[in-house]
Each structure stands twice: as structure tokens, then as C-alpha cells.
């Protein structure tokens, strides 16, 4: 049956009654599209999604942005004005990452004298009553011993007296930079003293430690540092620990064994102040005012004092910056500001550039020549000069941030304008524009409704690609000190870098985190911009 119609013989003899119209009675019309129409932007989006690198870049940008938004929310305890002047430039420390290496330690070289000073902090905390315990007892994981581990012992030649070089032993050790602050003198009111005593009993954490005698054995007195209180043991005039003999003579305690290793069995002789009954003294009245308001000078273990005043342990995931702010929080503020500046400037440039370029390109002729000359002149002023002049003139009146934005805007739109202009030249003489004009459309309508949408892809790409430039320029200007954006609660990535620039060799975390974030932002925005370009303009793919 199926082959009946294809059988040539039979086909010739189809009886008339077998023939009928195929679609009789059916109304014929165009079918509705099953798929949704794909517009210019949807098409670009589909192409963008296929570009893996750009998607990754976009995700990185979003993560960095979320970091900057969420950090202030999560790290509530450190609000933007929280600052601790004793914990400046400290490396990362967290309670949860303590065993993962985020423990606030740093590796450093010590001479025997400086090593014993650091060890003594731990011993001073351990042996609070001055019973004469050796250093060795604090080494097996005692919490307040700042020296964690001696990693290396080495000898270094040193120029001594009479041009004779002597070999000296040095130790490379990991030291907890938070515990290293050690003991400090604080002047507090009497009522505060009682509170601390109560708090000590409640929590079992010792804040108050015996006052050190103010005598010739106290190295802090010798070098004249009134706040520091780490030399609780007797030292000579050069800071070496000494032992007093019964005859009143002093003898240096030998610090190293014969094989050059540090002798951890030594016992430091305490130099605590004792009252007439021989008891340790925990405060000294330093006067001022009447009985109730006079100040007490106490000696505190700063780590515990910090917990007492703030209610939590130091917990800085990226360490602290050069002023004692939480670096993670500063970084979040910096990212926010840098992103805000670049996106805001980008938008303004977009608007100005679009209007300027549209007028230039659409009207052409004399208008074009004049406007082109103006933008040519502006484009040729070195940007750093523009930024400097704006800062010198406006920073005092409207603030450095606004002046910086002005500087960015003054020259930033030129690139966008020239792109819009060339696109307008390309499209303005096409037939559809002529048709619109014939139908009576006004210039404004033709510009914005008919030609401008054609330029959108190009200028969105150009804008996105200009963002890393703004981030870089801001960081450069801050770094060079031309723009000063820093301040309480506000900082920029460049300011963080310039703060770190002089001192970061010894505190690498100050540089690493901001530099890493800037680099990531620059790479991601560049990749993202390239992805946009490929998506909007596939013919340009691969060219740079």
C-alpha cells in the first residue's frame, strides 16, 4: 500500500475518487515561534557563558566583592575604629587555625641576649611568684611562652673591639608576635583594679603580675622605657641576665652550653619589688587626685589584659596593619572604596563619553573638529599631572576622594567618546537611519534610539576594561603619596600598600594580602573585559 503511489505504473492510473485536497478545511497561518527570540544582549550573554576564563574571573570578582561586604558583618567584634596600639603589624592569628599555622608566629634571628629576653616573658608568666623555675619548664607547650621552637643555630662573624672579628652564636626561632609584647605597665584607677582582681578569679586568667623593682638591675630603667616591663629578672647594664652572690657581687649567667646550644636549664633571678614583709607587690600608687581617684600602676600580661578589656582573644585572620587595625577589615574597606571609585567613575565616563561621542560622530564637520581638538588636548595632559593638580587645588575643599574622582572623570571619558564617535561614523549614513529621518524622526531620536544601541557593546567592553586601569591608578597615586585617602574607617588598597612599603620586609603579611587582592582584581577584570569583548564582538576574538 505504501509503495502504491511510487509505483510508476499505478501512479498513472489513480482513480479520481482517490484524490483529495491535503489541507482542506484547515486554516493556514504562520506558526508561532516555539523558542524565545534571542536579542543582541542575550546572544552576547550566551557567548559570554561559553568563555570559561571570563566566568571564573567573574566569580573571583564576586568573591572578592562578597569578602569586602561580609567581612565587616562577620568580624563584628572589630568595628572599623577598633585599633590596638600594642598589636601593630602582627601576623595572622586565629583561634581555629592555631594548629594550622595561623598562630601569629614569625621566624626571626636572635642573639643569646634577645633570646633570653623572649624566653623570660614565658617564664615570667609561668613563674608568677618568683619561685625560681628554669626556662626549660615552659618549653613543653606552655601557652604564654612566646618562643615556639628554635629552628637553627648558626654562627656569624661580628666586628668586635680592636678590629678583631669574633664569632657569635645566633638562633633562628619562631616567636609568637602577640605574646612577645609581654608585660606592660598600665596606669588605672583603683576601682578598675578591683574589677581586674574579680575578673581574674572568675576566669582564672592572670592579668596582674608583680611589679619589678626600680633598681640598677632593671634593664627597662637603664634604657629608659617606662612602659615596658619585660625585664623582671636581674640584668647587668647591657641587659645580660645576672645572678647576685651573697657578697653582693653580680655574675653573668652563662647562656650557651659549650656546644653552642642554648642552655634552657638556667634559672633567672627575679627582681620583683617586695614589701617589708617580703610579699610581692602588685600595684604602686602613682598619685594624682584624692584617695579614690589616684592612679595605680600595675604590671599586666598584655595578652590577658587584651582579653580582659575586649572580651575575646586576638583573632586576626590577616594580622594587623601598621596602626593596629584588623588588616582583613581594612582590606575589606579598601576593596569597597577601590571598587566604588572605579565603578562610579566608569559609569560617569560612560555617560559623558556616550553623549560627547554621539554629538561628535553624528554632527561631524566643524563640531567634530572642535570637539576632537578639545578631547585631544585633554588626552595629552599626563594623567599624573591632572591628578596632582586636582589634589593641590581641591583636596582641601572637597576632600581627596572627590578630587581623585574628578581627576579620573576629566580624562577618563575620552576613550569611550572616541569609540562612540567611530561607531556613529559607521552607522549614521546607513539606510535605516535615512529611513528614520525621512519619516521625520528628530536628531535626538535618531541618535539615541537608532544609532546609539549599536555602540553599546563596544562601550560596555571599553568601560569594563577601564576598571582595572582605575584600580591601578588609584593604588599608584596613593602609593606615591600624591593622593591621601587613608583615615579612620576608610582606606584604599593603594593606601594599604603605601603604608606597608617602607616596613614590609619584616612584616610580609602587610604587603602580601593587599598586593594579592589587587593583582587578582586586575587579572579578573581584564579577563572579564576580554570575555565581554569576545561576546559582544566575536569577530575581534583572539586579537588584543
Amino acid at each position: 500500500m505504501a509503495n502504491e503511489f511510487y509505483d510508476e505504473n499505478k501512479q498513472r492510473h489513480i482513480p479520481a475518487e482517490k484524490l483529495k485536497f491535503a489541507n482542506q478545511g484547515v486554516k493556514l497561518s504562520d506558526k508561532k515561534f516555539q523558542d524565545k527570540p534571542i536579542g543582541y544582549f542575550k546572544d552576547a550573554w550566551i557567548r559570554f557563558c561559553k568563555n570559561k576564563a571570563s566566568i571564573v574571573a567573574l566569580i573571583i570578582i564576586i568573591i572578592i566583592f562578597l569578602f569586602s561586604i561580609l567581612t565587616p558583618l562577620i568580624e563584628r567584634r572589630y568595628n572599623s575604629s577598633f585599633m590596638d596600639t600594642y598589636y601593630q603589624r602582627r601576623p595572622p592569628i586565629t583561634t581555629w587555625g592555631y594548629n594550622l599555622g595561623i598562630d601569629g608566629t614569625q621566624s626571626r634571628d636572635f642573639s643569646d641576649k634577645s633570646l633570653v629576653t623572649a624566653y623570660a616573658i614565658g617564664v615570667g608568666a609561668y613563674d608568677a611568684l618568683g619561685e625560681g623555675k628554669p626556662i626549660g619548664e615552659t618549653l613543653d607547650g606552655y601557652k604564654f611562652q612566646p618562643i615556639r621552637k628554635i629552628t637553627k643555630t648558626f654562627r656569624k662573624l661580628e666586628a668586635g673591639a680592636n678590629n678583631q672579628n669574633s664569632e657569635k652564636v645566633y638562633y633562628k626561632a619562631r616567636i609568637d608576635r602577640y605574646l612577645e609584647v609581654g608585660f606592660l605597665y598600665m596606669d588605672i584607677e583603683q576601682s578598675e583594679y578591683q574589677k581586674i582582681v574579680d575578673w581574674q578569679e572568675e576566669t582564672g586568667k592572670q592579668v596582674l603580675y608583680p611589679i619589678v623593682a626600680n633598681n640598677d638591675y632593671n634593664y627597662d630603667v637603664i634604657i629608659g622605657s617606662p612602659k615596658s616591663a619585660n625585664y623582671w629578672y636581674k640584668t647587668d647594664a647591657k641587659g645580660y641576665p645576672v645572678r647576685t652572690t651573697e657578697t653582693g657581687m653580680t655574675r653573668k649567667i652563662p647562656l650557651t652550653k659549650e656546644d653552642g646550644t642554648f642552655d634552657t636549664s638556667i634559672v633567672l633571678e627575679d627582681n620583683y619589688m617586695r614589701d617589708s614583709a617580703g610579699n610581692l607587690v602588685y600595684y604602686r600608687n602613682v598619685g594624682g587626685g584624692d584617695h579614690s581617684s589616684s592612679l595605680f600602676r600595675i604590671r599586666v600580661l598584655y595578652y590577658n589584659y587584651y582579653i580582659y578589656t575586649n572580651g575575646f582573644e586576638p583573632n586576626y585572620i590577616m594580622g594587623t596593619d601598621s596602626q593596629g587595625y584588623d588588616l582583613a577589615l581594612r582590606l575589606a574597606e579598601g576593596i569597597q572604596l577601590s571598587l566604588f571609585i572605579s565603578v562610579f567613575v566608569c559609569l560617569i565616563n560612560f555617560i559623558i563619553g556616550a553623549m560627547y561621542g554621539a554629538v561628535e560622530g553624528y554632527y561631524g564637520g566643524a563640531v567634530d573638529i572642535i570637539l576632537e581638538r578639545v578631547s585631544d588636548i585633554l588626552a595629552n595632559v599626563p594623567f599624573i599631572v591632572v591628578a596632582t593638580l586636582f589634589q593641590l587645588h581641591l583636596a582641601k575643599k572637597v576632600g581627596p576622594l572627590v578630587s581623585l574622582i574628578f581627576a579620573f572623570v576629566l580624562t577618563g571619558w575620552i576613550g569611550i567618546a572616541s569609540r562612540v564617535r567611530s561607531q556613529f561614523y559607521r552607522f549614521k549614513n546607513q539606510e535605516y537611519v535615512m529611513a528614520a529621518r525621512t519619516l521625520g524622526a528628530s536628531d535626538t531620536r535618531i541618535i539615541w534610539k537608532h544609532i546609539f544601541p549599536n555602540t553599546l557593546g563596544t562601550i560596555i567592553t571599553a568601560s569594563a576594561l577601564s576598571i582595572p586601569g582605575f584600580i591601578f591608578s588609584e593604588s599608584m597615586l596613593s602609593f606615591l603619596g600624591i593622593v591621601k585617602l587613608g583615615g579612620a574607617g576608610r582606606t584604599s588598597l593603594g593606601t594599604l600598600l603605601s603604608d606597608a612599603s617602607a616596613i614590609w620586609m619584616n612584616y610580609p603579611h602587610l604587603m602580601i594580602f593587599p598586593a594579592l587582592i589587587i593583582s587578582l582584581l586586575m587579572i579578573s577584570f581584564n579577563l572579564f573585559g576580554n570575555g565581554l569583548r569576545d561576546a559582544f564582538n566575536p569577530s575581534l576574538r583572539g586579537s588584543e
Binding site: 602609593f479 612599603s501 589587587i518 579577563l527
Partner: protein, 319 residues
Amino acid sequence: MGKYVLKRLVLMIFTLLVIVTICFLLVRLLPREFPVDKNQEAVLKDRFEALGYNKPLLSQLFIYFKNIFTKGDFGTSWYIAYRRPVTEVIGQRLLPTVLVNFYSLIFSIPLGILFGVYAAIKKNKWQDQVISTGVMIFVSVPSYVYAFLVQYFLCFKLNLFPLTLKALNDAGGSWFSGAMFHSMVPAIIALSFGEIAGLCRFTRAELTETLTSDYMLLARTKGLTRAQATSRHALKNAMVPILPMIISSFIGILGGSFIIEQIFSIPGVGSLYIKSINLLDYDVFMADTIFYTFIGLLAGIVVDLSYGLIDPRIRMGEK
């Protein structure tokens, strides 16, 4: 061609004059700061009076241009180098800037082109992917990050080089001595990363385009090997846009890099600029501004003209 060159030059001078005028007016509007010392202040005030610094702005501008065109006098430095002519102050700083950037260029140009050519030949193979990824990273990461890395690892940790540039006296009193070069190496390396990456990307893009041209197919059908065709035909044509870029880099070395000079304490034009702002030495600042503007404009013109010189088929300015 001659007419075009002339037109460009006239336009350049016009642009330069307008920019200088605007900057000059803006700079002279700023309040001057005087030393705390009363005698010095009086001396400076008298001098400024004599130089016409208190006259109306437009006559100041007239005096400024007159001095430049008749005597080549761009003003005097009052704070950085007391009473030295600005031209001399800048002149002294030019050599270190130029040297560091020049070394970096002669180091990075061959490398950049080499990587670019290699990536283009191996297009879409793993070698190209590796180079392109590296280029993407090196182009994006700001130059000061390399500077820090170089300083930290090569200078601080490994102790191979001094942290900052040596003073002229410590390095044998000459900018060309070996010790000076040795202390310049970190800055040169830091500058080179971006330069190599930029050039590599550009070369790759140009060469991949020429490699797929029809004349390459013709060259191969004539019997040239791939290497011959690439070196004789593709590379030559790819060089047309690359050479102007190299030329502009060579003009750009006069300007140098602000940040690298700051980090490695190179006593160059860039650090002079920063110093002139910090000390509010306006005449130096003005002259530095003119210098940078001029370099920028010059680079633009030379690049445009060099296209025509390198490839006579490109006729500039013809309608």
C-alpha cells in the same frame, strides 16, 4: 608626506602650548609656601617680586613664555636645589631614568618578540596556552608587585643585589660602572616583566594574523618551508605594527616609571616629580609637566610617522 608631517607638528605645538598654558595658570594660582626662617623668607619674597611672580597671571604667563623662547629658561628650583636652573635639575635626573629603562628595553624586546613568535607558531597548542596565560597574568599584575617580589626574594632573602639603587659615589662615581649596573638589576627585572608580556601579546596577535594570510599559502605552494615562509614573509609583515610600538617604548624610556623609581630610590625624573610636589617646588613641577607632555605628544607623532617609513604602502594623511 611633508605636508602631513608639518601639519602634525603644528598641531602638536598648538596642543603643547594650550596644555602648558592651562597647567601654568593652575600652578600659579596655588599659594606659595615660604621657609620658616624669616631672613630666607624675605630673600625669597624679594626674588619672587623681581621675577614678576606677583604680577597679574597673564603677564606672568607672558614672562614665562618669553623666558623659555628667548633664553631657554624654564624657571628656577627654590627648594630641591636652591637657585639652580630647572633645566639643569631635570638634566641631572635624566640619565638614571634613561639608563634603567634602556637596559630593561634591550633585555625585554628580544625576549618579548621571541615568546610572541613562538606562541604564534604553536598557536592553540599547550606551549601557546602556557605563554598566553603567563602573558595575561604579567600584563595585569601591577609593576610594583613585581618590584616587591624582586626586592623580597632577590635582594632581601637571597642577598644577590642591594635593596635600592646605590648612591653615585658608592658606585664609583659613574652611572656606567659595573657596581651601578649591579644595583640597577632588580629595577630592570621589575620593569621587564610587563614590557616582555605586552610585547609578546602584541607580537602573537599580529603574527597569527599574518600567518593565516593568503600570501603565506602562496609562499608555501611555491615550495618554501614553513620556517622560510614565516621568517621571510609573515614576520616581516607582522613587524609593521610592532616596530612603531618599540619605537614608542624607546621614547617612553625618557619618562620612566614613577613607582619603580620610588621603590628602588632611583634619582630619576619620576622621583623628581614626586619630590617637587611634596616640597611644592612649582617651577620644577611645571617643567616636569612640560617634559612629560612633550614626550607623550612626540611618541604619538613618531609612531604615526614611522608607519609610513616602515611600510611605504601606508600613506599617512592622504584622503
